[in-house]
């Protein structure tokens, strides 16, 4: 199982996501990228992120994405 940082790196290898606290404001992800990211997270963690949770605030940074994944019932790698 990959970490959130690894998945983000696969989707947008040009960015250092660990250095940002707000992916949207920093222009590292846009609302369209969230569509791609949700599909990758669903597949990697065996979850189905509800459409109601596809909100910018849930994809602001690695910590908020991890919180979302846990809320969807998946365990994260250490």
């Amino acid at each position: 199982m990959k970490s959130v940082a690894e998945i983000l790196k696969e989707i947008r290898p040009e960015f250092d996501f660990t250095a940002s606290a707000d992916f949207m404001a920093d222009g590292m992800l846009d609302s369209f990228d969230m569509v791609t990211l949700v599909a990758a997270l669903d597949k990697n963690y065996g979850i189905s992120i509800p459409g109601t949770d596809i909100l910018p605030e849930n994809f602001q940074n690695i910590a908020t994405i991890e919180t979302l994944i846990r809320r969807c019932g998946a365990a994260l790698p250490p």
Partner: protein, 277 residues
């Protein structure tokens, strides 16, 4: 249907749908600053129904349609119940992977929509791609940031060369704002705009919106000079993106020359039955 007067009204309508959603479906990805501008210019209307909200944005002689629905059956039911569905000139964008948007395409086709154009998103990492050294412009041409007085000429070029139904053409106020933000580069000759490049930079990402050379000035490397200057001036940008028609193989080849590559995201543009061309 009622006119929207605040951004909060938009988010409240979306939230109401989300509250009852089992499989929320949408093609609406609003950016607050854009919403504020559209609402300020009185171009946004909303129609709500149990489990669905439809947003209409006026643009020239048609409207963009955005939807939020609790699930796909509700989307189908309420879309078919919209009074203007057969008579209004509407366009709609479905963004995602082909497999993800196919169920929505099926529903829209039942409501009389047709597949119009497929757009592909292309991305370019700042350090990738080969950009040749700056091209020398022909005599009497110079490259400069657009000025307020160029707005009508640039708008005419954009409207001549792009499709309003698919290319999200700017309103005049958006174009003027872009000029104010120094986000339009031009090549001019004898005070006429021969070529223009319109971009939007947000943080580390820059979107190329329109890149156009007026017909009499083509094959003189003006477009190439603009692209090179664009990359050079956006030196803090890490990712460059753009949308291009899947059918426009010439344009795709040009963008690939500058290091852009398809990144897997597509936009299926659909048009309502009232749009016949």
């Amino acid at each position: 249907m009622r006119q929207i007067s605040s951004v909060d009204q938009v988010f409240a309508a979306v939230q109401q749908v989300k509250g009852s959603a089992s499989a929320f479906a949408t093609n609406f990805y609003p950016v607050r600053s854009k919403l504020e501008t559209w609402i300020g210019h009185e171009t946004m209307n909303v129609a709500t129904a149990p489990g669905a909200a439809f947003f209409f944005r006026k643009d020239r002689d048609f409207e963009h349609l955005y939807f939020c629905a609790a699930d796909l059956p509700t989307l189908e039911k309420e879309l078919l119940a919209l009074p203007q569905i057969n008579s209004a000139r509407l366009t709609l964008d479905l963004i995602g992977s082909e497999a993800a948007i196919q169920p929505q395409i099926d529903i829209l086709q039942k409501a009389g929509f047709k597949a119009h154009t497929r757009l592909l998103r292309l991305s370019r990492a700042a350090q990738s791609g080969t950009v040749a050294p700056a091209t020398a412009l022909p005599k009497n041409f110079h490259l400069t940031v657009a000025d307020e007085c160029d707005s009508a000429e640039i708008m005419k070029m954009i409207e001549t060369c792009f499709n309003p139904l698919t290319d999200q053409l700017p309103a005049m106020y958006e174009l003027q704002d872009a000029i104010g933000d120094r986000q339009i580069l031009t090549v001019k000759t004898e005070r006429k705009v021969a070529a223009a490049l319109f971009f939007e930079t947000q943080g580390l990402t820059s979107a190329l919106r329109y890149w156009v050379v007026a017909e009499p000035y083509r094959s003189q490397h003006l477009g190439s000079a603009l692209m090179q200057r664009y990359f050079k001036t956006q030196d803090s940008v890490v990712r460059f993106i753009l949308w291009a028609s899947a059918a426009n193989t010439d344009a795709l080849a040009k963008y690939e020359h500058y290091g852009y590559k398809q990144d897997g995201l597509m936009d299926q543009v659909m048009t309502s039955a009232a749009i016949t061309s």
